[in-house]
């Protein structure tokens, strides 16, 4: 019957017919956030690309790990976006943003070759070309959001997060700040759920995405690991693990769950399976702006854990305020992550 091709009258209608997602994995990355996204099911990448979610515009995904096209045919979409021919598009950036200004020549990270010079086009140049044209920009994973592991003390590239690179007051053409989805890597469904929210917003079906001060979706990162942890009962009883493999609370052997903003203990890693302290892995605070430096060495007891774990029961409000101090520190990026032309990570370059 002809009616099979019609939208039911009650289905929401998108204000735009098509949206392109341009995904750059060429920050200083491991591509782990893209791989994570292939793991998502709420929604899955196929759900979004094949139109299995009502109300969404047609979505064209341009991600190097999944693309059919290769080389110039793949890059063509990026050139088109730069020329304003793919509007509206969402730019997703994966990987830390290196500081290309601290050296005389060459590149730390690049995507594609400049046809005029034969030299690689730096990832920073692509961000500069595309961010002003994008309807919205998502930083996927802790490297792109805050710098992450590659922005560790002593790093040679001077890398940083995308919001830091673009500037705190940066807004997209549609008035959105950078949307940060931290996690090392991103929890699969956290990422796809955020993409879905923004697609609904682009379609005119959602209001502005609610973000906290660190530009994270509030509904995903508003609680701590500890608040969602099924081992918190052991904590409450003062019953702590002293070795790995124990089912008890891990705060005395390195878990930062009480001060890390993350929902992994509630959500699990996939289909409710896996996670971190809930399955025996200390929380190393991999979603946090201060990751990794403020939480290393990971396997030591976090400062404050011995005090708070002794007085936990009777002084709940005191604990909350002490934790908020640690939480505030962990929510700040180290001072060496910046765009200035001098490297201040502690590494002393002799060759560039």
């Amino acid at each position: 019957m002809a009616t099979q091709s019609l939208q039911p009258p009650s289905a929401p209608k998108s204000a735009v017919s098509e949206v392109h997602i341009l995904w750059i994995t060429a920050g200083l990355s491991c591509d782990g956030d893209t791989i994570s996204v292939t793991n998502a099911e709420q929604p899955s990448i196929e759900d979004v690309v094949m139109g299995a979610i009502p109300g969404l515009p047609k979505v064209h995904l341009h991600n190097p790990v999944l693309a059919t096209e290769v080389g110039d045919e793949f890059m063509e979409f990026f050139y088109q976006a730069e020329k304003g021919q793919l509007d509206p598009f969402v730019l997703v950036v994966e990987g830390s943003i290196p500081n290309e200004g601290i050296k005389r020549e060459g590149y730390w990270a690049a995507l594609g070759t400049n046809p005029n010079t034969g030299q690689p086009i730096t990832t920073c140049e692509w961000i500069d070309r595309l961010a002003p044209k994008a309807w919205g920009v998502i930083a996927a994973g802790t490297c792109a959001t805050y710098g992450g592991i590659h922005a560790m003390a002593g790093n040679p590239t001077g890398c940083m997060g995308l919001a830091n690179y673009l500037g705190k007051s940066w807004r997209s053409a549609a008035g959105l700040p950078v949307v940060n989805v931290p996690g090392c890597p991103v929890q699969p469904d956290n990422m796809m759920e955020t993409v879905l929210y923004l697609l609904y917003q682009a379609a005119g079906l959602s209001p502005m995405i609610p973000l906290d001060e660190q530009l994270r979706p509030t509904w995903l990162f508003g609680k701590t690991v500890h608040e969602g942890c099924d081992r918190a009962g052991y904590y409450e009883q003062g019953d702590f693990a002293h070795e790995y493999g124990s089912p008890k609370c891990l705060v005395k052997i390195g878990c930062w769950g009480p001060v890390a903003n993350c929902n992994v203990t509630k959500r699990g890693w996939m289909r409710g399976i896996g996670g971190c302290p809930n399955v025996g892995g200390i929380c190393i605070a991999c979603t946090m702006p201060g990751f990794p430096d403020k939480f290393m060495p990971f396997m030591d007891q976090p400062p404050g854990a011995s005090l708070s774990s002794v007085i936990v029961v009777s002084y709940g409000s005191l604990i909350r305020s002490l934790r908020s101090i640690t939480n505030a520190s962990g929510n700040k990026e180290p001072r060496w992550r910046h765009r200035r032309p001098k490297l201040t990570t502690g590494y002393q370059p002799t060759s560039y």
Partner: protein, 599 residues
Amino acid sequence: MATATEPLTGTERKSRNLVEMNWDPITRIVGSLGIFTKIDFDNQEVAECYSTSSIFRGYSIFMQGKDPRDAPFITSRICGICGDNHATCAVYAQNMAFGCKTPELGEWIINLGEAAEYMFDHNLYQDNLVGVDFCEQMVKQTNPSVLNKAENTPAPNADKHGYKTIAAIMRSLNPFTGEYYREALQMSRLTREMFCLMEGRHVHPSTLYPGGVGTVPTIQVFTDYLVRLMKYIEYVKKAVPLHDDLFNFFYEALPGYERVGQRRILLGCWGSFNDPAACDYKYENMSNWGRAMYVTPSVIVDGKVVTNDLVDINLGMRILLGSSYYNDWENAGETFVKTDPLGNAIDKRHPWNQTTTPKPQKRDFKGKYTWVMSPRWFDKNTGDHLALDTGGGPIARLWATALNNLVDIGYIQATGQSVKINLPKTALLPETQFEWSIPQWSNAIERDRARTYFQAYAAAAALYFVEKALNAVRGGRTQTWSDFKVPDEAIGCGFHEAVRGVLSHHVVIRDRKIANYHPYPPTPWNASPRDIYGTPGPYEDAIQNTPLFEENGPENFKGIDIMRAVRSFDPCLPCGVHMYLGNGKVLRQEHSSMLGAHS
């Protein structure tokens, strides 16, 4: 002599009409890779190839001064698809340095996690990334006559996998719309659930530590793993015959296809899956516990095992420069390790003694053109610096295991010429045996075929490990982690197989901090550029002299045969490959001896 890769064909004189064709980035791989070629369309072959990576991060630099216990957590972030292989290898290296040993059950848990990683990663790569090169949409664009033939070619194993013709298999591999493509994506998730049961999170595990794992070993966690494993085994019983049909068809439809991606047999495998009864992590005993691994380590040259001794393998490692953006350390850097614990001299170019000094600069294909260095294996018998490849992992693992004839765990039996994989009955399919036999060539098709067989191998190994783990739990042997003290000074090394092949971590500890750390994953071996002796890396070598079967001329050239050659290695820089064709600019015409490996 220093160069070890010889051109496969002679040096006959040919008229060359070379067209420069570049693919940057190469997509459907992990990481940033560019392939720059000169193509001879008159003779339908690739004349020259350069492989370049466009990302530098600096792990070996920023890990200096950090706590060595953090190494598994940090190094996992090297790779976004096999990060856990790094975390595991870092655990192995720290165990050696700290003088501790993962308890039996912890070892089974790591083996189960790593087996799940192989099952997942090969699955996703084979059918969602590389499979696209063999799908109907692609073949229609590149070789319409081959697709026509496929439409009329019945699939010999149709009764096993359900697809009546080869073209039906190709259609099922079309991205997103293909049935098998989507099933593979689902299976890649099921296997990642198995992974998460053992190691907490994919891809950067949460529960691995030096000394073992934090996974809580319950009957439940292993049962949850086992039931998923049996579903995967049922799937593998279809996957292997399906891929055999597809790959055999290419040999039949395109005579000479065995030369695509072919290179001399120069394979490295560093061994996988420790046997807890044998492995004490002491360097002095490494030769023995290396041979006890459930995938046997080896260096294989021209089809023969040169060594299966991890100590020899370790001593032969050399990191060369030549075309990479770094300053040399030969006369500049510190010598951290003069001899190994057995008293063998350690070379200045060995990872223990490497000093990484990046020197960013313009890309110049006549000079320095990549961030990848050139790992080589020094064969003391011949004096060659061998540009070993891993063939993407599985072909080297199966080849080494088959030849050495050491693995016999019932579900898997090495025979000297083959590996037999015995899979039990599953819900709908009977008991099944697969036999992978040593192929005639190290080429693109055989690398891809081995990947599917290794999925079956990993599943069979996991069955063995899960039985061992359940027995340990039932027997009350539930310790998964053992304590240690970080020594003031120590050295350590770990050998493992990342999904794509050889993986080593070398650590030097001073004042309880990391003084030097150098991981060598498979891709530096495979994606390496021309070294100081002019020997090209394996991608370059395999693509050079690859014949072209694509039906498109220069104007619409997709480079599909080159893509199949490079993707057969499962590149993971993390990086990508792009095809930069432009409109086929003619570089030069010349009459000269064959531009080959030594040009």
